[in-house]
């Protein structure tokens, strides 16, 4: 049977029309709860490569390639330095550096996360996400994390459905949650989430780093409609 384009277009439109039009109430609640923790950008901060002329983008790309090439050559052929010119070793060590994980195969995060503080007690534990999935915030040394992240930082385990878990070190930086992912799809990425904790509801909003981009409306396991959590999957 032959169809005209118009009939076929109508069929697609009718099919799309059958999809839901009403958002769950939780959507707006989450947005309004998280909004105070999301700072607005200033107008002058807007900058998008797509807004630039194409010739300018090409010129910038060419310049970048040249710079990277020079850096590569410098790395391959470092200049010889006389012993007397060698820099003195630094006496100050970073406050909290992220060393490679217990397993030597775990790569170091890039960009490097900032030094942070331990997670507050109020977020430690299991949180349910409607994906469905789970976020576990656990203290340093937990078996679920120790093989993927260093032991002197708290960590987070995130699992959506039956997908492989993702593990990262977790710390608080300027009031935001910083996760340096060490295992799973997001490995090597450092994400920053604003945190809005209200009772048994925890909203995480990605404000930098991306990867698991988006925001997460979490409910403490075993409260409300959230089921009881299984233990975090161990490596």
């Amino acid at each position: 049977m032959n169809r005209t384009s118009g009939l076929f277009d109508d069929r697609i439109a009718e099919w799309l029309e059958e999809d839901p039009d009403r958002a769950p109430a939780q959507l707006l609640e989450t947005v309004l709860a998280a909004m105070p923790s999301v700072p607005q950008r200033r107008a002058g901060q807007a900058w998008r490569p797509a807004a630039l002329p194409r010739w300018w983008q090409l010129a910038a790309a060419a310049a970048l390639i040249v710079v990277l090439g020079l850096l590569g050559l410098t790395a391959l052929y470092p200049p010889t330095v006389a012993p007397s010119q060698s820099p003195e070793p630094s006496l100050t060590a970073p406050a909290r550096t992220f060393t490679p994980a217990a397993s030597p195969s775990i790569p170091v995060a890039s960009p490097s996360p900032q030094a942070g503080t331990a997670l507050p007690d109020s977020v430690i534990g299991a949180w349910y996400h409607a994906a469905p999935g789970w976020w576990w915030f656990v203290r340093a040394g937990d078996p679920a994390c120790v093989q993927a992240v260093r032991t002197d930082l708290d960590c987070v385990v995130w699992q959506r459905g039956t997908t492989p878990r993702e593990i990262g070190s977790a710390s608080i930086v300027d009031g935001d949650l910083q996760v340096a992912w060490r295992s799973g799809f997001c490995t090597r990425i450092t994400s920053l989430y604003s945190v809005a904790l209200q009772g048994d509801s925890l909203n995480l909003v990605d404000i930098g780093g991306g990867c698991e981009g988006g925001n997460f409306a979490l409910t403490r396991a075993g409260t409300g409609s959230a089921p009881t959590a299984p233990p975090p999957p161990t490596p």
Binding site: A13, D21, L27, V31, N215
Partner: protein
């Protein structure tokens, strides 16, 4: 009215943005759902778009274009969600339903086939189809909303519709064969 709210919100008025978000939440969710085909991911994408709108609103130059700008944020959020979907989705095989004879059953099968065919499209192609067939955008509007050349919008729409048509035609041919047998 909306322009005034947008003006106030871009100056940091949270109440104004709350009103805008309340008025836009359904639309954002509907758009995200149609692209992602999943309620939870659609909710995540819509939330991300609305919070991105709040964050970036001061950078919006033409407040009259708020709706199109918000649609762009939703589509971009859907791309991010779809990227995680591709890696997390189990290898689900779509099984063809057993041939049915009633018109109702054939309709259900056709919708399922359309759903399966649509899911095979890339997020970029899905977005163009939804903007055109659901929101009624013309190609120039799609190009402007998504920040792509008009030719790209046209080719994406053409490719997407051709792919959907091919899947449905093959399904109908198979069904006709069943009826002839």
């Amino acid at each position: 009215m909306q322009v005034e709210l947008v003006e106030r919100a871009r100056r940091g008025d949270r109440d104004a943005f709350a009103s805008l978000a309340a008025a836009s939440a359904d639309r954002c969710y509907a758009l995200a759902y149609r692209i992602l085909r999943d309620p939870h991911r659609a909710q995540d994408a819509a939330q991300q778009a609305l919070l991105g709108a709040w964050r970036d609103l001061p950078t919006l130059r033409d407040v009259e274009r708020f709706d199109a700008w918000l649609h762009r944020l939703v589509v971009n959020a859907c791309y991010v969600e779809a990227r995680t979907e591709r890696r997390s989705a189990a290898k689900v095989r779509v099984l063809r339903a057993e041939p049915e004879t009633s018109d109702i059953a054939r309709g259900v099968v056709a919708r399922d086939e359309l759903e399966a065919a649509f899911r095979q499209l890339s997020p970029e192609h899905r977005a163009v189809v939804v903007l055109h067939h659901h929101l009624g955008y013309q190609l120039t509007e799609i190009a402007e909303t998504l920040g792509i050349p008009a030719g790209t919008a046209r080719s994406r729409l053409h490719h997407a519709v051709q792919q959907l048509r091919a899947v449905l035609d093959s399904g109908e041919s198979a069904a006709a064969g069943e009826r002839m047998a």
